[in-house]
Symmetry: C2
Subunit: 363 residues, 2 copies
């Protein structure tokens, strides 16, 4: 199959590498000519709102997917005029708007922190009353990797946060005093088959994923998370991989946000699961039978942010695998990762610590 | 690192896919412009004896390896004038000549079937006396996938076999009444680190690999095979993956032949081992620490010969993964494979049978 991908970052590149192994062909559309994806397949040059290039991509592909979650709904609709587009546009649009996302969680009875919509400055006071402090003010759109949000500790800081974020439509969320952050990756194909990966524990640094450990191995939470993600998959008649982040608060899951695509917290599945999230995303969008999602060991994934550690030193850690995305180093930029897979859970902490020392202090 | 590969068949393609994930770049040299490798990386067009293109490849790469075992020694030497070449040229040259190969096995006390060198027609009689019948007459050079050999049942057939094979330098081997055929893949880096994959059982059809099952799980044979392959790795101060095929006769290993490269019988390691043979070959030639070679489950690999079975039907088999090489179908041609990985050994036979039915009868 010829598969188009809008956005040729590392997620698109890893999708292509998974599909090339299966004999699929790939065509990217990206704003940069030297993107990670363009190093492994042909890439059209154009903006994500370039109607002409979007149509050109669509006409040359059997199906189109994306690795940029801020792809405008209108762009997806242009593609869908000419060829298949998956995951569903509704899922993409819902995930782009924190208000729609929270409302959907509410409709599907997926618990979240307390939250209120803030349309105008006048709504701030009432939202604060309902949500309490500390809280997080977030723009409804274009937030990722910690951008587009401000932590609010004191009532008098709220108005300034509102201005800082651009005085547009936002939501105010209660700050969850979470024990840990976890994510679940589910996958569905249009025939209705669904599978879920083991829960992954995620540790962030300044809003960016620092490292992940999987599987979490708490069977109660696993079942609960699968039930929530399953509701979302069915709601959208979803195809491909859907990632949902949760806070764990007092042993309970509160949904934070969803991403209608492969996810950084699932990179460990390349070596640590029977089928990678990338292979399963492709199987899902192509309506092929899904692959086994079991963990084959105990894994940890550490992001390379801003710099690549020495490859030989990373690979000296038993069970480790090194990934680089072909991106130029820039402060805080995700340019690679390493995954360690251990047969024994007890081997993981020391190896993870060694890897974390190699990537240096996060500061 | 920028890695050159002489030959852009499926082995080169799978090497490149493994390396691209690690941020390596690839450049092929092949006689065909639409090779499997050329679909995933840039490929120079030229014969494997094209001194100009060999030099051009070498000058653009940090290291060069190969996926064609019949690469002339002289071609490797041209490359080695400009950049690193691995595995060692001596290993390549030895594997290309059945006589050198058998003599090395003898020197290193690696048992083989009885054999005799046949330089001229006059040597046939004495060779037959020493080796007995049935026997196999093999050309010393350019034999692979069952080519370049004739099975000899009766003394009077020997002279005809000699003519059929071109009346050049050959060896006559006793036909081993083997219980099974197995292979071991070892890997070494220039720093001296060595690792071995679990033994794989191979079933051939008309001289071509039909399917493989791994691990074999007979610890006595595993240790013996590792000891033999270790001797070869050390003899050559080897770098990269070395594959050795054995006959099992009365519970004893007899070396058949070696290939100084990744091997069809190791394709199951992509999904069925902690580190694939392709990733480990690259680590080996780049003198990086080697990856864990343990099997993560019980695997079977079936070759797609001449035609691709329907992808959806293959993937309906639990634990299966589908590979296609971007090659045009042609009778007997290797154009893809599937691997099934099971957590339980007992699940494997039925799934393998289902997969074998999908690829159709071998006839």
């Amino acid at each position: 199959m010829k598969i188009g991908i809008v956005g040729a970052g590392q997620l698109g590149r890893m999708l292509a590498l998974a599909g090339l192994a299966q004999g699929d062909e790939f065509l990217f559309l990206d704003t940069a000519a030297d993107s990670p994806g363009a190093q492994v397949a042909t890439s059209l040059l154009g903006g994500f709102d370039d109607a002409e290039q979007l149509a050109a991509l669509a006409k040359r592909c059997d199906i189109v997917t994306f690795d940029v979650e801020n792809l405008p709904r209108e762009s997806a609709e242009i593609i869908a005029r000419y060829t298949g587009f998956q995951p569903p546009i509704d899922a993409l649009a819902t995930a782009q708007d924190r208000l729609s996302e929270k409302r959907l969680f509410e409709t599907l009875e997926i618990p979240t922190v307390a939250w209120r919509s803030v349309e105008r400055a006048e709504d701030l006071h009432e939202a604060l009353e309902a949500v309490g402090l500390p809280a997080v003010l977030k723009t409804r759109r274009l937030g990722y990797d910690g951008r587009g949000q401000v932590f609010v500790r004191r009532p008098q800081d709220l108005a300034e946060a509102w201005q800082t974020l651009g005085a547009g439509p936002m939501i105010l969320e209660a700050f969850a005093p979470f024990d840990e952050e976890v994510s679940l990756i589910g996958v569905r194909n249009p025939s209705g088959q669904c599978r879920h990966y083991p829960l992954t524990r995620n540790v962030h640094w300044q809003g960016v994923l620092d490292y992940s450990i999987a599987p979490l191995e708490r069977s109660g939470l696993q079942k609960q998370a699968e039930s929530y993600v399953q509701r979302l998959l069915e709601h959208f008649s979803y195809a491909g991989v859907l990632s949902v982040e949760f806070f764990v608060v007092n042993g309970r899951l509160l949904a934070n946000e969803m991403a209608p695509r492969v996810h950084n917290s699932g990179h460990w599945t390349i070596e640590g699961a029977a089928t990678s999230q990338f292979e399963n995303h492709l199987r899902g969008i192509l309506d092929l039978p899904l692959g086994d999602t079991r963990a084959t060991g105990h894994s940890a994934m550490v992001n390379f942010l801003g710099a690549l550690p020495p490859r030989a030193e990373v690979l000296e850690i038993e069970g480790s695998h090194y990934h680089a995305y072909g991106k130029a180093p820039r402060p805080r930029r995700k340019i690679g990762h390493a995954t360690i897979v251990c047969a024994q859970r007890s081997d993981l902490p020391a190896r993870l610590e060694r890897l974390r020392r190699l990537v240096g202090p996060r500061e």
